[in-house]
Amino acid sequence: MALTIQRVDVPVIVDESKCLEKCVACIEVCPLDVLVKNPETGKAYMKYDECWFCLPCEKECPTGAITVQIPFLLR
């Protein structure tokens, strides 16, 4: 197969200035397991665009670093 990488607007936005490097609260509660840590910065980000905009990541983040937007296609 020939593949290309497409840019997509993802719903989960992480404020890196607030994200704690040793914390995995958002990653552990995401039902779709779409959040991971950037190994270089230790900050969480949305790696897979598979979001139910259900909000556990935002509610359980201890520093308020996460904002969940409604996915663009539904907005």
Binding site: L3, E28, P31, D33, E50, W52, L55, I70, P71, L74
Partner: protein
Amino acid sequence: MNTQWMKTDVLVIGGGTAGTMAGIKAKQANPDLNVLILEKANIRRSGAIAMGMDGVNTAVIPGNSTPEQYVREITISNDGIVDQKAVYQTGKLGYEVIQELESWGVKFQKDAQGNYDLKQVHRVGKYVLPMPEGKDLKQILTRQVKRHKVNVTNRVMATRVMVKDGRAIGAIGFDVRSGDYIIIQANAVILSTGACGRLGLPASGYLYGTYENPTNAGDGYSMAYHAGAELRNIECFQINPLMKDYNGPACAYVASPFGAYTANAEGNRFISCDYWSGQMMLEVWKELNSGNGPVQLKMTHLDETTIAEIERILWANERPSRGRFHEGRGEDYRTAGVEMDISEIGLCSGHSASGVWVNEKAETTIPGLYAAGDMASVPHNYMIGAFVFGRIAGQEAVEYLKGLTYLEPDPEFIELERQRIYAPLAQPGGIPHTQVEYKLRRLVNDYLQPPKVSHKMEIALKKFTQYHESLSLMGAQDPHELMRCMEVHFIRDCAEMAARASLFRRESRWGLYHYNVDYPEKNNDEWFCHVNLKMNESGEMILFKRPVEPYIVDVNIETEVYDVAVR
């Protein structure tokens, strides 16, 4: 990839509403047993109630209603095709479930006298019990799971139930982060994986913008089918009236007791009851196609205090992002109704009647294999029904496995499943799961979304049976993508079942859920029966009629026809 072997007396697959309760009840029944909940997400926030629930829809509370009245109501609303003994369990045991949940810290709404504050949403009886503080439901259940010393393995997705000598002996799956191959031996297996919520494609085109938690991809339907179990009334699709684009409940169950109602664009009522049924959905479909649409949930006539209370409940529970959806569009319940639309199709007995066949003991047709929750065929069972059948499954499984010993799985089966699961990882440059899933679900919309047309469903069936070829082209670059790939396998199985079952039942029933334009009338003479399906010994999907079990509560289905149209 490593291979991990595990052993447990009771294996619960899926740690949502039914699964957590099943685990707790199994452990209560015999604390010496090992009970394991396997969950592909994290039980703290998984399943249909990941963000809590704003009310209970099937609460039979003494003094307000009886199990017999509840069975009558569900029998009529499901056009008579019910196993009343199974429905009766929800009516009989729901009250104990509510009391136990309350003892664990779940709050239900009570009136000034301290009585449960039940609301009428169904056509006749009061079964809706609000729980405006229900946002922590899943954390409370998780706490009880730990307190009861139920083992939990998160982030492992099961793909097949193992069967030997005619009984369930465990399951196979993989760790969706490490990719490890997981083989679990058990003496009883409880499937509680939720609905097939990713069957049709939402109108937005966003694969995960579904009504159900999109993790619920029909896993249990597919696993039960491949284990040889019978599934039931799959043609009775789940179709919901939802907030357009957001695709979540608006939610009439919460708002209608406050005075909100479903109306057409002119603000006029066209249905007499907001309880979700196929008959109600058919009226919504007619209204949308009559030129009187769009359809709305109307609240503009309510006072400020009432609207603020509705907002407080809807924006804190179940789907709390509803508030920001409206905000982003500049919408306000005070000035305009909520635009409603008809959802894509799914399979879910929690709302309709499509599921893995269970009797009143939560037993499937395979000894040692139980099912509970949205995927088990007890019509209109909702959350309380999931708790009740989780409880029954946990208790029955413990009773069943007495004296049983572990059976060694068949090495050839384990090897074949390993090859099947890991095929996409061996071709990381293969077609991405997103595209393979999108096309499959778009075909579901094109050919299966009611009104059903036989010629179209024949095309669907051909395309779904050929779709194995597309599945074999999928590539995964990591275990996470592999999870999504294997979910597409589940979805394909469900799509084929949906097409075959819909073609088999040559009548129309359950309003829009099975509105077949080739056979537009209900035909009780030939089709007052269940349609069951299973895999035969040659690996083919076969369908057959099963008689409706004798009623235990008298209902004359010829005269008591469910009709909610306003004429």
